[in-house]
Symmetry: C2
Subunit: 325 residues, 2 copies
DNA sequence: TAAAGTATTGTAAACGTTTACGTAAAGTGC
DNA sequence: GCACTTTACGTAAACGTTTACAATACTTTA
């Protein structure tokens, strides 16, 4: 069946310890001649290490566990690309455990699965754990880091965009385009949403705007469509949306209702994924750098000294009208 | 540090074998009194099984490995939702290994990683392996199944939509709407693409249409945008696109070139993800049931008797014009 | 009551790999 | 040539859990 180091040792005429040292590349503990023989035989036999045996002995593996939340917004690919690349550079493998979308049970199971394996670190992407799971993580002794979430607790590692900066920059941009009746749409009441609300309100205050307007949602396209009804009686000229999906839903519902974008209503979308290019018109966005968020989170969980916040930028497309001043 | 069954045995006054039997729920091999005591102490100690030790001894785990290709088209979520749900119903965990997008090195590494772990099965989603990797999989003794790919080799398990049926239904639908100058766009030369070409051409023949028009691409939005140039000199009235992203790219490039959809050019998109709702106008699609593809692939790899093909359906939106006949 | 059957438990070995420590041989410096 | 250091290798034990088999205790049957 599956060849083991015992098989290699028997064919090489050396001990299993020597085979192990060669296969673990313990330089200086074997001769070149012995190494060549062992590597040749290992290849002939199609030998592969038994990961479970290694992890059992070493009580640690060179594997990062990524716990992945399926958000309505598709930014996972960028984050994962960043994680995979950086992990690979640091000699770490990556396994992904799926936690559904705000499914507490699946999340708990994913966390326990990660803890049951001797992973070197855990990255939780766009996931807000409850206190019990957070305690579990803290007590495990395994380093963990939140990705695209900032809990603002000093002992908890995270890498994300600065959510207050995201919305305050969006407000700045819209004010610059002449807008003063600015709303925030599709946000939720979790940490990310709360931070974005704070930035939105700080941005309004900084420009002396006293009227705020916040509509809650769940970041999804359908949520965006439904939110349009709530804006119809209001006098807002511009809306900052919590996600590209909210923006797309608002956009399409508005157009179906005869409201032209950007002529009658301007939109600035948070995230800046490819969705912003697909809509008609394209969506002006506060674009997050998901690739670097992912990449930097690997450095963070590996104990390297990195900045928590990854900068964002405004990307102009076609959804914001410049008002006469 | 981490409690082991030795700690539980010491506190319970029983042997480690008894602790193991209780924790493995070997019914009929322990008394209720002993069980209660062991479970209480395990909970007090915060005991968790060491997965590596279990896998080492059993040489098998109740875990499916999903090797995930990051396609330009975002259908992964549906597939994974289907896989996770069905696996959970069958008592299997799921770990996901990321293979990038047509990155042979990452794919090979993902496959080797899966083989190094005592997984119960491997699901390869939208992945076309080379011969060496396919041989590796076959020689491993671990069951594997292709998801959303059909290799048409009798010993190789797969679950997907019927790609010939997808394009022939699209042709049927467009002919029904009065179209006879029908193209196929964005397809590649791999298995899926080849099957869709066959269905497209069979569909044309069935309607006595002798002129075919096929433009290759890579399923991405950018590829779709670029393909428009190739269609400008042609007299096609309708295009079947290889993915929603190709459709969105063609759509937006056409509108920017003053070509109206559906008035001047009709589009039918293969996949039917949420992208089809986001574009303006919405894209008529041959919609695949990714959730059931994922779900059924779990049954397939677990050795249950299931149909290879999951039915597709035409979903009308706003991208096809009915021509006068 | 004795024998047979069943339930419960413990001992020992297995799983595949790593590594501390001991030993022998080779290399280096005085 | 001698003492010290380095290289190379082997032995034995460890890692945490499972399980076959043996032993013991309890229950049922004749």
């Amino acid at each position: 069946m599956k060849p083991t180091i015992k098989d290699i040792a028997a064919r090489s005429g050396v001990s299993i310890a020597t085979v192990s040292r060669v296969l673990s590349q313990k330089t200086g503990t074997y001769s070149e001649k012995t190494q060549a023989k062992i590597l040749r035989i290992a290849k002939e036999l199609g030998y592969r290490k038994n990961t479970a045996a290694v992890e059992l002995v070493k009580k640690r593996s060179a594997v990062l566990a990524v716990i992945l939340n399926a958000t309505p917004t598709n930014f996972s690919t960028g984050v994962i690309d960043g994680i995979q690349k950086r992990a690979s550079e640091l000699g770490q493998g990556v396994i992904i455990l799926y936690a559904g979308n705000r499914d507490a049970q699946m999340l708990h199971k994913a966390i326990v699965t990660a803890l049951e394996r001797a992973v070197s670190g855990i990255l939780l992407t766009a996931i807000e754990p409850d206190e019990a799971d957070l305690t579990l993580l803290k007590d495990s002794g395994i380093p963990f880091c939140f990705v695209s979430l900032y809990l603002n607790q000093p002992q908890i590692l995270s890498v994300s965009s600065n959510n207050e900066s995201i919305t305050s920059q969006a407000v700045d941009y819209l004010v610059e385009q002449g807008h003063t009746a600015i709303a925030l749409a599709g946000i939720d009441g979790y940490h990310t949403g709360t931070q974005r609300i704070a930035g939105y309100e700080a941005g309004l205050r900084a420009h002396g705007i006293t009227t705020s307007c916040i509509k809650y949602g769940d970041y999804s396209y359908e949520s965006g469509r439904q939110l349009l009804q709530e804006f119809l009686p209001l006098k807002v000229t511009a809306i900052i949306t919590a996600s590209d999906m909210i923006a797309a839903g608002l956009l399409n519902a508005a157009q179906e209702a005869g409201i032209r974008v950007p002529e009658d209503l301007s939109l600035v979308s948070i995230d800046g994924t490819i969705i912003c290019n697909i809509t008609t018109p394209g969506l002006t966005s506060v674009t997050q750098d998901f690739y670097h968020i992912g990449s930097r989170s690997v450095d963070q969980v590996m104990g390297h000294d990195v900045e928590t916040f990854v900068p964002v930028k405004i990307e102009e497309r076609g959804s914001v009208k410049q008002l006469k001043k």
